[in-house]
Amino acid sequence: MRLPTAPRAALERLRRDAVFGLAGIAVQFLALLVMSVPWLIYDQAASLPAVLLNVALPVGALAALSPAFTRTQRRRFAALRGVDIPGPARWGWQVRYNLLAAPAIACGGLLAWILAVVGLEGATVFLWRPLVGRPKFLPTTVVEAYLTALGLALLAVAYWLIGALARLDVRLATAMLGPDPAKELERRVEDLTERRAGTVDAADAERRRIERDLHDGAQQRLVSMAVNLGLAKATLSDLPEEARKVIDEAHREAKEAIEELNNLVRGLHPAVLDDRGLDAALSGLAARATLPVRLRVDLPERPAPTVEAVAYFVVSESLANVTKHARATEAEVTVVRTGEILRVVIADDGVGGADPGRGSGLTGLVGRVGSVDGTFDLSSPRGGPTVITVELPCVL
């Protein structure tokens, strides 16, 4: 018989919840087995200390066995519910789950099954009543109808209860058998930090790779081409005027292409940064700026490569911004390492009024600084001066 989808899904859900709940009840029978051991030995224990002992001892034993129960419960959740509860569990909470929550839910489960059986009996009264004659408590068909309705209602309650208990169990177990939420959060933060560092490093490595590829490929070819054109220009003196012009033009364009490519690489990740560090890379940058830049770099030792790359990018973008927007006559770049902090300050004497919100290069800057947990501070009152202060952790 093919049932329509919705009832079929409901039945399937009921089957899963029921199996899950019954397994939970079965685990509690294990617990009862442990509880009952002393009662088998002291069979006529009457004195108060003996009773206390008979209760305290098995409860203590259950508490001690809690990790084993937790493991069993975890397996039950994973196998029957598809819920993986990660460890490590906290002692107090797993004891509370195993001694209080799980037995309570098992009791609820038993109640649900009792309701289900009684409900089934009531609902099917029209089927079995003719077989047993007419008992005294069923004087009329009307009462039988009431009983059927009551039975159906109980079945509905049992159905609901089994589902609700399964859901409740999942929630309680995840909370009580799982790891400390604070620790879990800490672990997650650690995990994410690690992963982000990986992403940032990967992006960095990619920039380096592009730089190398450009250097080994296009750049070499362009230089070679410019050299050949230069040679032609220098040696072929008996060419017609027009041919000379064409060679001249080509030579100039080849040199411009080299310059453009160099600028691109400089904005990306220049080789000098890896080879010689921030100090050397920044002096190249400062020297190429279109306004006078004073540079002071004080680095007793090199920071992590990713941090160097970010610091370089910060100076590169900031100087580009100064050139484009600040109308400054000079700029000053200071890079100092104090302990584990790399401090990069770019100051100019321009018109100020820089706003990171207005989609300038500053937005990208803030993002890149944030990617290594750095801080970005901008002071740019109208009329200037503009000071950008970036602090980066030297070790990631």
Binding site: Q219, Q220, S283
Partner: protein, 214 residues
């Protein structure tokens, strides 16, 4: 005149050979690493070695070390270093040790064939050639010091001196007369408190002071 070339990029090496031959040099050997270079210099005793700074195996500053070694061991061989980028500290290292027969240029300058050949000849005959970029990079480090007392024009003259140009070359480059150049140079000597000595030595001292190594 004879030259050896040490450059690991094949394309640029081919170009360099052509440029050197155009300039009238005989290329005695081509190598692609520092060891090969030293062996070639030992064997051929060339007038000049044209050397890439970044070579195998380390791809960092093998060329600079080789250049210092060559200048010490074979003083008759001048060295012209070529580099993808310039590092002013290399320039300082090179010029503190040797103030003649040393050049340090960006690779892309080779494309300006005529200027490059002029620099090549200057270095081969005991002069110096410093890339303008080195000079610019040195300027960004200058803070309050005697160099601040120079006028912009005097500074230009000093930059040109640092690049290794003669008075005539400076005059041509700045479009001023040679006597004006001489006047500026004298003024530079005075402002930098350089001792009275023979002209060439003072000139070198001025450049070294400018490079921050004197």
């Amino acid at each position: 005149m004879r030259a050896v070339i040490a450059e690991d990029s094949v394309l640029l090496r081919i170009g360099l050979v052509k440029v050197l031959q155009t300039a009238g040099f005989e290329v005695a050997a081509e190598t692609d690493d520092a060891d090969g270079l030293l062996a070639a210099v030992e064997e051929h005793r060339p007038d000049i070695a044209v050397v890439d700074v970044r070579m195998p195996p380390g791809f960092t500053d093998e060329g600079v070390h080789a250049a210092l070694l060559i200048r010490r061991q074979w003083p008759d061989t001048a060295v012209l270093l070529l580099s993808q980028y310039v590092e002013e500290r290399y320039a300082a290292d090179l010029l503190t040790a040797h103030t003649s027969g040393i050049g340090y240029l960006l690779k892309q300058r080779v494309a300006d064939v005529e200027d490059f050949i002029a620099a090549l000849r200057r270095v081969a005959s005991g002069g110096t050639a410093l890339d303008p970029q080195v000079v610019a990079q040195l300027l960004v480090r200058r803070h309050r010091d005697p160099l601040d007392r120079l006028t912009p024009r005097e500074r230009e003259v000093l930059e040109a001196m640092a690049q290794g140009r003669s008075n005539a070359g400076i005059a041509e480059g700045l479009v001023i007369s040679e006597s004006a150049v001489a006047k500026h140079i004298n003024s530079i000597f005075v402002k930098l408190d350089l001792p009275v000595a023979d002209g060439d030595h003072r000139r070198v001292l001025a450049v070294l002071r400018f490079l921050g190594v004197g």
